[in-house]
């Protein structure tokens, strides 16, 4: 059987197209991984400029292909961190808040991102409360509902428990907050993180483990379980020796308090 010239051309261009697509995808994936590495590094040093570099990478990928949901997720994650930094920087907060909510809402309704998307949206709404307490009345029920849904969709999603724990810890007791309940959530978070087998091929950022250790320490401190607080802080540093929040803020403060207490007697 003879193959016509047109069929040959079709096969040639099809193979060429596939090759180009694969190579483009490979490039995109590499870029995404580079962005993830930058974002992780940025969180450890809590550096806005490094976050910005990661943000630009995710932004470029998403602009080129608006169906690239992992890129959208990563982009939204960095926006969440900007809002976190923006709780003391109005300009930064105002710059990112609207699009962060829009992106998070989009990702929360995207197929395959149900639990993670809802958790990220809850995280961003939580930041809105941090910036403006008055929104707590409106947003708290929504955040709790989102986290409830996230936990139902994926009961092993550690980030859902992390955000739930942060909410519990920072809400006044009279309004339903509880340090103990917060700590229970953080313990669950750590437990799920430690059970999780990280996929090196994952194109979405795996965030929250270090946060969970830091928040667990804070909760333990509040419950006057200093030994446990020191342990989790040191554990965080053993995983990431340059984790700035623990290295420069939480652990020194706790050690200073301890030394102060010792000096008193």
């Amino acid at each position: 059987m003879k193959t016509s010239i047109s069929t040959k051309l079709f096969i040639f261009f099809f193979l060429l197209g596939s090759l180009l697509h694969i190579s483009f995808a490979l490039t995109t994936n590499e870029q995404m991984k580079e962005g993830i590495t930058l974002a992780q590094k940025a969180y450890v040093s809590y550096d806005k400029e490094t976050f910005q570099k990661a943000y630009d990478i995710f932004g470029n990928i998403y602009s080129a292909d608006s169906t690239n949901l992992p890129a959208l997720y990563n982009l939204t994650y960095v926006e969440y961190r900007f809002l976190e930094m923006g709780s003391r920087d109005k300009a930064l907060f105002d710059k990112y808040v609207t699009q962060a909510v829009e992106h998070a809402e989009k990702i929360s309704s995207a197929k395959g991102f149900g639990s993670e998307g809802k958790t990220l949206l809850a995280s961003i709404l939580m930041m809105k409360i941090t910036y403006n307490w008055a929104e707590a009345m409106t947003l708290s029920p929504r955040i709790n509902a989102l986290l409830g849904e996230a936990e139902v969709i994926n009961p092993n999603n550690p980030r859902a428990y992390l955000i739930h724990g942060i909410m519990k810890l920072n809400t006044p007791a009279a309004f339903g907050g509880s340090v103990k309940e917060g700590l229970e959530k953080f313990n669950k978070t750590i437990s799920y993180f430690e059970k999780e087998e990280e996929e090196s091929t994952s194109l979405t950022i795996n965030w929250g483990y270090l946060d969970a250790l830091a928040w667990t320490g804070i909760a333990n401190e509040k419950l006057e379980m200093t030994d446990a607080a020191i342990f989790v802080y040191k554990k965080a540093l053993s995983i990431e020796p340059e984790y700035s929040w623990v290295k420069y803020v939480l652990l020194p403060k706790l050690e200073k308090t301890q030394n102060g207490t010792k000096n008193t007697f």
Binding site: A134, P141, A145, G148, A174, M225, F231, K235
Partner: protein, 733 residues
């Protein structure tokens, strides 16, 4: 040289050897050998450790050596610590048994008919519920009235619990009894409470079948805990058409010493000027409230709290009585101070003591009536909680109160004639009494070893030495958790209470009266959808005995009786779409033969149907709208069916029909509240509100007054008998 090299090699090897990781592993379980997951197991002052898995197994490695402490922490369990000697082992296996923390028992709720302010403990009425209940004026008592078990007898703040008189419900603040927690007391009741919401840390309310720790009470208990050492400095300023308020929380020494302060001044002129009704007042009601507490944590568990309230109010209202048109002047002053001490002894014994003094005086002037009532109470209370095991605790305590009530002034000879020149009696009556009480209660989270079967079995004894009177009250609460969502509870108990002190007057009353008695039976079913959504249905029956009954010879005897049967239902919800609120409904059938009711008759608290709907919704970011819809069957009253002319006094005496044979019209009211939350100048957490009370201008009445010959009657409007608008704001900083 060779030996030096040899030693160096040995040292190097030793050093290398010391860097060898030692594996530490084991299982964590509870006293029943049940594996405990998510337990943090770690070495002190290090980052070496791990969390136990679903099977309770843990495993980690360490390079540390020497004497090291191994710890295990889990909320609700006692901390585990063990010294390890780490040398040249490759692996160490340590199994860890954690004992359930005795204090965890506090989390369990056995009692039926109760609700509190903490999540995870069943039905909740939180501080935010109190603050945002439309029409509730952020007043705990007014907000409580929207809950099941409390009947809408009037618009006053007093709590009418399941057919009981308000004196049958006690209020306790940090263990101390407070008999007059209200302001604006009048013949129609009191409007608000003296306890400011800013001070409330937690509260527990029960409408029946409550614990043996509460004595000399027949129907309900409101037990309030005030705030402790403030954690951060916070102040709040509020102003509305009806009052202004300033409160502050100041920590002086972190986690050790601090104070809370609140000043509240009400001035009702603007609100009556705006909404009408000012002409009714000769002195528009005003009140002043100063509340403060000093808290000192002298150790990790030892705490001292000095809490005090000073409240004063005055009011002058024009009244149109049958034969007298003049003013009702009320003047009330209330002082309350309580010193509370608490500590944990020997890690298993919680001790709480309180000593309080309250001094209340109230003057009413209406025509010939000019009466000053003073009520002084000294009370001491000691409560102990001993944690026998992680699943059971023994509660016990003693209390002593000394109360002196005095009535001084003049009262009309006959109720139907209060004209200033009417015949009068001069009274100067002291009613003195003291009470000693003690109780013991055993609580178990696993009764007879059955999981989910909790019980509280208690007994109390009260004694009134001056009356040579004593009574024993056994009480039982049982609860069975059917699954994670459903719990069934039942309660039975005997409750005694002395009647109103004025009935012990040697002239007007009977100093030998006995205590009133009630037997409660409660059956309840709770369904908890999640921590924000819950449902409860409850059936109850109360038998009253020994109620005071008028007696021609003795003034009063104890031959009265009565009953109350009913059902209470509530659905409380907070939905993710911004809706929150609750619907409560109560049905009651209650009759009493007491006071001047010679036959078993519908009592004045027999409000057959009680319905409340509280709904709040965020219409936009920061904007919340709320409604409070109330419906209640009209209160029974005794109608006037004629009048006899008394020539001697030149006045008509009303002839009454059958006791409580008529009812006022049904009570209906809709309150609306619009709230805006915002932050001003990036600093002030601000709340602005606009509230419409009785927004539909529905007519509700307190009672009737009559023409001099009782041939015509007119309605007396309730407090909120006309539409009333209030605007206000508060700034937190």
């Amino acid at each position: 040289m060779k030996s030096k090299i040899f030693i160096s090699v040995l040292l190097l090897l030793g050093n290398l050897f010391s860097q060898t990781k030692i594996k530490i592993e084991g299982n964590v379980f509870d006293e029943d050998k049940k594996p405990l997951p998510m337990v943090m197991v770690f070495l002190s002052n290090s980052g070496d450790g791990a969390m136990s898995d679903d099977q309770g197994k843990y495993s980690f490695s360490t390079k540390l050596n020497g004497k090291i402490i191994l710890n295990a922490n889990l909320i609700g369990y006692d901390k585990f610590s063990k010294e390890l000697e780490l040398r040249d082992q490759k692996k160490i296996t340590i199994d860890i048994e954690l004992k359930e923390s005795a204090l965890k028992m506090k989390e369990s709720v056995v009692s039926a008919s109760s609700f509190g302010s903490e999540k995870g403990k069943g039905l909740v009425l939180s501080r935010i519920d109190v603050l945002t209940t439309p029409g509730g004026a952020a007043d705990l008592f007014q907000s409580l009235k929207t809950m099941p078990g409390i009947t809408q007898v009037s618009e006053s703040a007093e709590l009418y619990v399941r057919g009981g008189d308000p004196i049958e419900t006690i209020t306790m603040i940090d263990q101390a009894l407070i008999y007059h927690p209200f302001s604006y007391e009048s013949t129609y009741g009191s409007l608000f409470s003296n306890l400011k919401n800013e001070f409330i840390k937690g509260m527990y309310f029960s409408s029946g079948g409550f614990s043996a720790k509460y004595g000399n009470v027949l129907s309900g208990v409101l037990d309030i805990e005030t705030k402790g050492v403030p954690t951060s400095m916070h102040s709040n300023f509020g102003i509305s058409l009806a009052n202004t308020n300033f409160s502050t929380e100041v920590p002086l020494i972190e986690d050790k010493l601090g104070f809370n302060f609140n000043f509240d001044q009400s001035f009702t002129k603007p609100i009556f000027w705006l909404n009408g009704g000012l002409e009714k007042f000769t002195a528009a009601p005003t009140s002043k409230n100063i509340t403060g507490s000093v808290n000192y944590a002298y150790s990790k568990t030892g705490k001292l709290k000095l809490f005090g309230i000073y409240a004063r109010d005055i009011q002058g209202v024009s009244v149109e009585q049958t034969e007298y048109e003049g003013t009702f002047d009320g003047n009330t002053q209330s002082k309350f101070i309580n010193l509370q001490h608490s500590n944990v002894l020997f890690s298993k014994l919680v001790m709480k003591n309180s000593f309080s003094v309250s001094n209340y005086s109230n003057q009413w002037k209406l025509g010939v009536l000019d009466l000053i009532k003073t009520d002084k109470v000294y009370s001491f209370r000691n409560d102990f909680e001993y944690f026998i095991s992680s699943r059971s605790r023994l509660l016990s305590g003693v209390e002593y109160e000394k109360r002196k009530v005095n009535y001084l002034g003049q009262i009309p000879n006959n109720d139907y004639n209060i004209r200033p020149d009417a015949q009068r009696k001069v009274i100067d009556a002291d009613i003195l009494g003291s009470r000693i009480g003690g109780y013991m209660e055993l609580e178990s989270a696993t009764t007879f070893g059955i999981n989910n079967f909790a019980s509280a079995i208690g007994i109390r004894y009260d004694n009134i030495p001056s009356l040579k009177l004593g009574w024993v009250n056994p009480r039982i609460n049982l609860s069975y958790k059917l699954n994670d969502h459903s719990t069934i509870k039942t309660a039975w108990g005997i409750f005694n209470q002395l009647p109103d002190p004025r009935l012990f007057s040697s002239v007007e009353g009977n100093p030998n009266l006995k205590s009133m008695k009630a037997v409660h039976y409660v059956l309840s079913y709770d369904y908890l959808f999640d921590e924000d959504n819950s449902f409860r249905i409850e059936l109850y029956h109360k038998d009253y005995k020994n109620l005071p009954l008028e007696n021609l010879l003795l003034n009063y005897d104890n031959n009265g009786k009565g009953f109350a049967n009913g059902v209470d239902v509530i659905l409380k919800s907070a939905l993710s779409n911004g809706w929150s609120g609750w619907i409560s409904y109560g049905f009651i059938n209650t009759k009493r033969k007491w006071m001047d009711f010679e036959q078993l008759t519908s009592s004045s608290f027999d409000i057959t149907h009680n319905f409340s709907l509280i709904a709040k919704y965020f219409i936009a970011s920061n904007w919340q709208v709320g409604i409070n819809l109330k419906y209640a069957t009209g209160r029974p009253y005794t109608p006037v069916i004629g009048a006899d002319y008394r020539a001697m006094e030149n006045v008509y005496e009303p002839v009454y029909g059958d006791k409580n044979s008529s009812r006022f019209q049904n009570y209906k009211r809709l309150d609306l509240r619009l709230t805006y939350f915002t932050t001003l100048f990036d600093r002030f957490n601000s709340v602005f509100y606009l509230e419409g009370l009785n927004i539909l201008d529905l007519k509700n009445i307190f009672g009737y007054y009559y023409s001099p010959d009782y041939s015509e009657r007119k309605e007396v409007s309730s407090y909120f008998g006309r539409r009333t608008v209030v605007v206000g704001m508060s700034l937190g900083f």
